[in-house]
């Protein structure tokens, strides 16, 4: 990063010219989409005594590095319902926040190449239809009707949900940040947190490079860096970073409606509103904070994509990059306060899908912290579940659709 120390605020109100206030009701650590969604929703409900610390710039972490997918096709009811709410919030985002996030509902098309995968899609689709999604199972020819360029050789079936979509991640962050700042939230960029000290009265002193804030409640929303924050208060946060690579092509005329994803290979690709084909593929997981790029990724992605859509062979890749997935032991997020650290709220472990869930999570966190109802996800996804002998939720309750 190019600057050291806090940034003077510009017209967007992000940054600060002096040290933070000595006290705040809530300190949020991490100005990714989770931290900013929570901060904005707290302020929108009247709790504006909020300080946000971000060690880099907005969109520096995973929130600025993902493919912008927003889908409701999940294997657990809770995630389907959360994402139904997120999609509604995405639809209203431009009106509520005043920023165009280029949200486009072109659907998500999942392709199955084995009987077991077909069974998974069918099982999920039955549950999703019950919850109200316009999901439908398709024969290969039906998938080809939606994306005529597909070579469906070897494809047995597909699921298509037309109300899934994509958005452009960066303006989402700017929108939340600008609205939160306008409501009175202090957002410090380029301001790392160095220590968190528990005081005798149960409050926390959050020591940042710009100064110390004492707060009754601290929200750790630092994605893959959350274990570092946990250690500051003696909490073992059992997530780890996995590098996920992604790339983008030269812009093409709009031709591709949905995000297309192949279950087995984890191949996925969509066409952004700028016309680029943006996509990735699963690779053997590498535990690292590195955001370096590899030829292995490009080659694997290109081979899978060219097999599925041969006509894309002459399309040029312009750029590739990587971000950190925050992997949890059972594929589900970790939320709420650990028993040993009341007032220290976790919001991590979203396994590469936090961006799409943040609009709903932000609302529920803010409702809970302003005295409203406590959403069931705070019980389901409490940290204690991963500390038991099973290391997580029972098999039948685990989200298993983190792939493609």
């Amino acid at each position: 990063m190019g600057l050291s120390g806090p940034r003077p605020p510009g017209a967007a109100g992000i940054g600060a010219s002096g040290p933070p206030p000595p006290r705040a009701e809530v300190v949020v650590i991490g100005a990714g989409v989770m931290g900013l969604a929570i901060a904005y929703n707290l302020a929108a409900r009247g709790l504006t005594d909020v300080v946000v610390f971000e060690r880099g710039y907005l969109a520096e972490g995973a929130s600025g590095r993902n493919g912008g997918g927003v889908r409701q096709q999940w294997s657990t009811e809770l995630n389907v319902r959360l994402m139904q709410q997120s999609v509604e919030l995405c639809r209203g985002f431009a009106v509520e926040i005043g920023v165009n996030v280029w949200f486009r509902q072109g659907g998500y098309l999942f392709l199955a190449r084995s009987a077991a995968e077909v069974a998974r899609l069918e099982r999920n689709a039955a549950m999703q239809a019950r919850l109200g999604l316009p999901i439908r199972m398709l024969e290969p020819a039906g998938a080809q009707q939606i994306v005529p360029e597909l070579d469906v050789t070897g494809v047995l079936a597909a699921s298509f949900n037309p109300s899934d979509g994509i958005l452009f991640p960066w303006p989402f962050l700017w929108g939340y940040a600008q609205r939160a700042a306008a409501l009175g939230v202090d957002i410090y960029t380029f301001t790392p947190v160095r220590a968190i000290e528990r005081e005798a009265d149960g409050t926390y002193s959050v020591v940042s490079s710009a100064g110390t804030v004492r707060a009754r409640r601290v929200i750790a929303a630092a994605g893959a860096w959350s274990p570092e924050l946990g250690r500051m208060v003696g909490v073992d946060v059992p997530t780890h970073p996995i590098r996920h690579e992604i790339c983008s092509s030269e812009p093409l005329k709009p031709f591709l409606g949905p995000m297309v994803s192949e279950l087995a290979s984890g191949l996925y690709f969509s066409q952004s509103m700028r016309g680029e084909i943006v996509g990735g593929v699963s690779l053997p997981p590498q535990i690292t904070y590195s955001t370096g790029s590899t030829l292995r990724f490009l080659a694997t992605y290109a081979r899978r994509l060219c097999r599925l859509v041969p006509r894309l062979g002459d399309v040029k890749v312009l750029r590739q990059w990587a971000g950190s997935y925050d992997m949890s032991p059972d594929g589900n997020p970790i939320l709420g306060c650990p028993p040993e650290a009341p007032g220290f709220y976790l919001c991590c472990g979203f396994v590469g899908h936090g961006f799409m869930m943040a609009p709903a999570v932000g609302v529920h966190y803010a409702e809970w912290l302003t005295g409203g109802p406590r959403h069931e996800m705070f019980d389901r996804f409490a940290i204690d579940r991963v500390r038991g002998p099973d290391g997580g939720l029972p098999a039948g309750e685990r989200e298993d659709f983190n792939i493609g």
Partner: protein, 105 residues
Amino acid sequence: MSKGKVIVCRCEDVTLKDVRHSIALGYADIEEVKRYTGFGTGPCQGKECHGLIAAIIAEESGRDPAGIEPFTSRSPISPTPLRILAGAGFDDGDEDEAYDGEEGP
């Protein structure tokens, strides 16, 4: 220069006014300006515009140009067709069983 648009990134049609607007909002680091305006993300990948926009950032924010680092460069060095990459020689074996991973969009 006061009339009309001054294009500073030809691939993405970014104007001088766009860059100044980004800086005025507070998105003033070169990585932030890149994201806010999209400069340097087109076919040339910044080869034409990078130095020019760094100079504008230095001028607008009163910073020492020597203290402005380039943004992270992205592979590939020049736009490369997918079919060329597909033949790059990384064979993970069975196409459908390579890695049934815990990753995805």
